[in-house]
């Protein structure tokens, strides 16, 4: 069943891609779910403004002014930390939630496939080609010369991993 071959390959590819995108997705979701309060926004704005001002002051020539600006930035940062505490906790929860859902969906899909096609071979090869690993390759179908779903899954994963390492290096 050719479509199965391709389908499994695509699933593995999607899984890898999804894993890479997870941090981005969880950040997007936390932005939607957790509303940044206006005070936090204002604080961040002020800090950015002060940082830009700091760049314009010369440390050597106007040290007291520079130091005062730094002190303001420090105290605003401390305030921001106070606001951040509950937010940080929520965003960790979201991150774990997203990861959990992703992995669960993935595992359930694979399991369903394995169960559904436990008797049917994906591919039927001549017996001589798969000797002597015939039994392993055919698992769990038991049909000699068949390529079982599990074996094909492993093959796809290896190929995708290798491909990714070649591409990224």
């Amino acid at each position: 069943m050719a479509w199965l071959l391709v389908a499994v390959f695509l699933i593995v590819l999607l899984y890898k891609a999804g894993r890479a995108c997870l941090p981005v997705i969880s950040t997007m979701i936390s932005k939607i779910l957790i509303k940044e309060s206006t005070e936090e926004k204002n604080l961040k704005q002020k800090i950015i403004q002060l940082r830009m001002e700091l760049k314009t002051i010369s440390k050597l020539d106007h040290f007291p002014k520079y130091a005062r600006c730094e002190r303001k930035i420090n105290s605003l940062n401390q305030e921001l930390l106070e606001y951040n505490k509950p937010t940080a906790y929520k965003s960790t929860v979201v991150k774990f939630g997203v990861q959990g859902i992703f992995y669960t969906i993935n595992i359930l899909t694979i399991l369903w496939f394995i169960w559904r096609y436990r008797g049917e071979p994906i591919l039927h090869l001549p017996e001589e080609w798969v000797w002597p690993l015939g039994k392993i390759v055919a698992f769990p179908t038991g049909i000699p010369g068949a390529v079982g779903f599990t074996f094909w899954l492993v093959v796809c994963r290896t190929v995708v991993n290798k491909g990714l390492t070649c591409v990224t290096s």
């Binding site: 440390k59 050597l60 040290f63 007291p64 130091a67 005062r68 730094e70 420090n74 105290s75």
Partner: protein, 332 residues
């Protein structure tokens, strides 16, 4: 030049420290060579006049208090000659943990030496834990001896901040270490049995850790209480020193440790009736510039100005004399 807008500047002396009877811990710090030890000893002398008992501790491996008072001090509080209630002590933070295993391992068997080495390595891996244990011992000793006020002559800046952050850092570290201990204790005792040494060493150490943790927590709270703890920053009137002092002040503010005293040392006071030499005039000019910046930046601090004298300040008598400048502003 009186100005109508001039706000009340705080007095230029450490009288505020002397008056604050609730103070128990005073840290005197600043980057190297500014005269920390002279200042801390002078402050100790002034405090000894009005407080019941004063202890000055040096954590600098260079052991300057012995030089300052011209008397040998050890890691046990020793009375300073010529005083009835002033004590001094010098601790080397690096020696702390090494003492314990040495006591226990009498017969130098190689396997035991390896075990001791491993434990030391393990403890050494936690940042500052050897110092921390040493300070914890000091705290325990000091708490039990009940000095009215303790002055820490702290080692130069980076070290200082590590010392001050150690209570909270070590609290976390010790807490984790104790958790690990309870998980590994059976394993360690088995291994110890195999190697033929009793596991008492691990037990002993961790019991000490458990005993020390509440003291560290208590000390941590006291350090962040402005009624009980303050930090005196010593500097000189030069750019780098000013920069370091500001960094120190900002770090202390972040750690919620009170600081409201700056001591500017080694200042050139020009003689009134003579014309100063070119060098002195030039130095005075440079220092005036930075002194103005200091007074501008630290307008809500007490800024005490100490002179650079023609002689060195060494020995109890010189320190006694010098300490008067902390309370009464110096004039030529």
């Amino acid at each position: 030049m009186a100005t109508a807008m001039e706000h009340d500047t705080l007095e230029s002396s450490v009288q505020n420290i002397l008056e604050q009877k609730t103070l128990r811990w005073i840290f005197v710090g600043g980057k190297g060579g500014v005269g920390k030890t002279t200042c801390s000893c002078s402050l100790a002398v002034q405090l000894s006049k009005i407080r019941e008992s004063v202890l000055v501790i040096s954590t600098d491996p260079a052991h300057n208090i012995s030089d300052a008072f011209d008397q040998k001090f050890s890691k046990v509080p020793t009375k300073v000659k010529g005083f009835t209630n002033l004590f001094a002590m010098e601790i080397d933070p690096n020696v702390g943990m090494a003492d314990l295993p040495d006591d226990y391992f009498e017969g130098q068997q190689d396997v035991l030496a390896v075990g001791k080495g491993v434990i030391q390595e393990l403890l050494g891996a936690f940042p500052g834990i050897d110092e921390a244990m040493s300070y914890a011992e000091v705290m325990r000793l000091v708490q039990s001896m009940n000095f009215s006020v303790v002055i820490f002559d702290t080692a130069p800046t980076g070290h200082t901040l590590r010392l001050l952050s150690f209570p909270s850092m070590v609290e976390k570290g010790l807490g984790k270490l104790l958790k690990i201990k309870s998980q590994f204790a059976p394993f360690i005792s088995q291994m110890a049995g195999v190697m033929g040494m009793q596991d008492m060493n691990a037990e002993q150490m961790t019991t000490r850790l458990e005993e020390t943790l509440p003291i560290i927590k208590q000390v941590n709270e006291q350090f962040r209480n402005p009624d009980q703890t303050t930090f005196v920053c010593v500097c000189i009137a030069e750019f780098l020193s000013l920069y370091e002092t500001e960094r120190l002040v900002q770090e202390l503010t972040k750690m919620n440790i009170d600081t409201h005293n700056i001591v500017v040392n080694q200042l050139m006071f020009l003689p009134k009736n003579e014309k100063p030499c070119k060098m002195c005039a030039a130095r005075h000019r440079i220092q005036s510039k930075y002194l103005d910046q200091i007074e501008d930046l630290y307008e809500d601090f007490n800024v005490t100005k100490l002179p650079l004298l023609e002689h060195e300040v060494r020995g109890a008598d010189d320190i006694r004399q010098f300490s008067e400048h902390l309370v009464k502003p110096y004039s030529v």
